[in-house]
Every structure is written in structure tokens, then in C-alpha cells.
Symmetry: C2
Subunit: 201 residues, 2 copies
DNA sequence: GCGTTATTTATGACTGGTCAGTTAGTTTTG
DNA sequence: CAAAACTAACTGACCAGTCATAAATAACGC
């Protein structure tokens, strides 16, 4: 029954921590509860992680890595017209926001970035520093080929992805306190449409 | 020299609290430090506010009220073509985000909405519940007069304002940990342009 | 004006509860 | 039996909120 699987411990602890941090916030979550949920004692956590912050850092690290990989994979090689790529990008992000705990994680990052600057910097490096340039170069190619008018690609990236940030926070901040749900897929499709038309020469 | 001004106390305490909450987060701020910054003892705060949460609620209440008034005033009566109104809206929000502590406040609301649901609900009621419909009806009028194509006004509000949310969080979350500054006014202008072209029939 | 009392504004010291992180010792596994 | 995995119990620091008491100001009587 009770299989020992010590090498699975870190992942189990991380899963328990993500759930509780999301539900109650980082500061308000007791390590003892994380341990209980993972089927361990609090002291055991310290065999695998240096301290409470390391737990959060590991969660963010894992989630960011996984989801950037998903987006990269779904986007595929950047060939042909740019517009369909932009639609796919938003649709993929929308799916992630709808089906994973990523919105809660974003809320955590926003809330804790001052107290735990490494967490914020990790997101800054991986998401902003790696994904933004990728999209930016896509848009720049659209400008070069004449598919789009001559706009600033850097600003356009922000115009393009911002509603997905709004959607994430809607889900993690406002829905839990009683706001009516937002149709994230519809917003993604609507916004992609709007932007692509706005970019036409 | 030392003028007594007991009726100014609440405002002084609020100002001190906003500064410290913004800098270090709500949970991590000691009421004793708020008191010291306001030139009082901790116990004195309890003469004016019921508890720590009431402090946060009062800050949010005041900031939301002031800034919604600013936007309403700068927008003026909704007459003539809609497009200029949308440009003014984004430009006004951009100015607020650039010149006030509102971005820090938004970060606080996001961080504390689970622990202090009243705070989140206040923002939901006042900003989402009051400002969103206002903009939505503006866009709806544009659709009716034929100035815009037939899109969903509710979704378009979100497409329109989302980059201002991104800008606020850029300022309050990422700039403090070393991200390069974002030109919020430029983003507002760029985005207004993009959306208005995207809305053209 | 001027002393006396009432009221408002303020504080220092304390309490009770919380919880991250540690340690000394126990159980499990190979 | 040795090493690895684990835990109960403890410690030390922190801090929101309270309370008994003091200072400042206002109110009043004369």
C-alpha cells in the first residue's frame, strides 16, 4: 500500500504548497499545513528545501518552464503570414490560463515580488526576457514583409498580450470574490482580431 | 510651531500607511512603523481606525473615488465622435499611473483580495462596476452610429484598458526589481491608435 | 481674566497568539 | 547494523490589539 518513494517527495511538497499558496497567499500559509497536505511533518520539508521562500521559487521556476515550453511548441516554426501565429499565441495562452493554476501563480508573483525579489526577477527573465522578444521579432517580420503597417513592435507586443494578463487576474483575483466569469477564449479571439485589423497597412 | 490639528490625523495616518504598505506590503508592515511615520504612537491609530484592515480599506476607498472623479471630469460629456474620447481615456489613465501611487495600490488590491475580500469587492464595484459600463456604452454608441464595426462592446472595453493594467503592474512590480522603465504615455497613445483602427468598419 | 473640572487626545507597557526554523532522537530501509 | 528518511517537541522572535494612566485642550463658573 504505502509505497515509499523518497525521490517523489520534492514534487509532492511543491504540489501541496502551490495549492495552499494559491488559496490563502504565501504569508498566510503555514508550512505545517503544507506538510500535512503532502503527508509529511513540517521538519521533513527542511530536508528538501532551504526555507519557505525556496519553496515558492521552485514552484515558479517549474511553472514558468513548463508553460513557456507549451507556448513554444504550439507556435511552431515562425513561417508564412504572421497573423495566424498571433491568433495561435493568444489562443494558447488563453488555454493555459483556463486550465492551469498559472493565474494564481501570477497573483503570487505580483504579491510577493517585493518581499521575494528573486521570484519577480525569475518571471522577468524567463517570461518578459525570453517570450516577449520572440513575439516582438514575429511582429517585426510582419512589418518587414509589409503584412503590417510600420508600428513599434515592442509596444505592440504589450498591446497584444495585455488582455491575457487582465484575464489571468480576473480569474485569480475577481472571480473568487464573486465577479461573473470571463470567457477567456472569446476575449483572446476577439482581441487577436482587433489587433490584426489594427495592424493592417 | 507644533500646531495641533486633530481633525487632520486620519489623513496623515492614511498617507503614512499607503507609503509603507506600498513599499513593504500589507502583512509585512508593522502598525508601529505607520504610527512612527505619522508622528504618533501605535495605540493612537486605534482611536481613528478599527483595525489594520480598516486602514487599507480607507486608503483604497479614497484613491478609487479621487481617480474615478478625475477620469470622469477629463472625459467630459460623451458627444461627437467616440474615437477621441477613447484616446483621452487612455491618456488620462496613463497620467494617473505615471503621477500617483495608484499602481502600488492596484498591486496591494491584487495581493490582499483573498485575505481582505472587501478591498477587492470595493474595486470591483467602483472601478469595474462603474467605469467599465461607462466606457462600454461609449463604444456601443460608436457601433450604433456606424463609426465602429459591429463588435462586442464588453470585450472591447477589456481589449482597450488591459495595457493600462499591464503598465500599472510594470511600474509597481517590475520596475522596483530592476526592469527598464516603460513609457506609459507612449503605450497609451500607441494602443489607442491600434484599437481605433481595429474598430473601423 | 483665572482657577477648576470635564473631555478629548494620546501613550508605554503588556498580553496572547502565531509560526519559521532547529534539534535531539526515532523509525525505516537496504 | 549503518545510513537515510523522518518526526515531536521546542525556541525565539514577532506583532496586532488592549488597558490603565497621563498630558493637552476645552468648558464653565465666578
Amino acid at each position: 500500500m504505502k509505497k515509499r518513494r523518497p525521490e517523489a517527495r520534492p514534487a509532492e511538497i511543491l504540489a501541496a504548497a502551490l495549492t495552499l499558496f494559491s488559496e490563502r497567499g504565501f504569508a498566510a500559509t503555514r508550512l505545517e499545513d503544507v506538510a500535512a497536505r503532502a503527508g509529511l511533518s513540517k521538519a521533513a520539508i527542511y530536508l528538501y528545501f532551504a526555507d519557505k521562500s525556496a519553496l515558492l521559487a521552485a514552484i515558479v521556476e517549474a511553472a514558468v518552464q513548463t508553460n513557456i515550453a507549451t507556448v513554444r511548441e504550439r507556435l511552431g516554426p515562425p513561417t508564412g503570414p504572421v497573423a495566424p501565429h498571433l491568433r495561435t499565441l493568444l489562443a494558447t495562452i488563453a488555454t493555459i490560463l483556463r486550465t492551469t493554476a498559472f493565474p494564481d501563480l501570477m497573483k503570487l508573483i505580483i504579491a510577493e515580488s517585493r518581499a521575494q525579489p528573486e521570484i519577480g526577477r525569475l518571471y522577468l527573465d524567463r517570461v518578459i526576457g525570453s517570450a516577449f522578444p520572440l513575439v516582438q521579432s514575429l511582429i517585426a517580420r510582419g512589418v518587414e514583409t509589409g503584412e503590417f503597417r510600420r508600428i513599434d513592435p515592442a509596444m505592440t507586443v504589450r498591446s497584444l498580450v495585455a488582455p491575457m494578463l487582465l484575464a489571468a487576474l480576473w480569474r485569480s483575483v475577481f472571480e473568487p470574490i464573486g465577479a461573473e466569469p470571463l470567457d477567456i477564449d472569446a476575449l483572446a479571439a476577439h482581441h487577436a482580431d482587433l489587433i490584426i485589423r489594427g495592424l493592417a497597412p
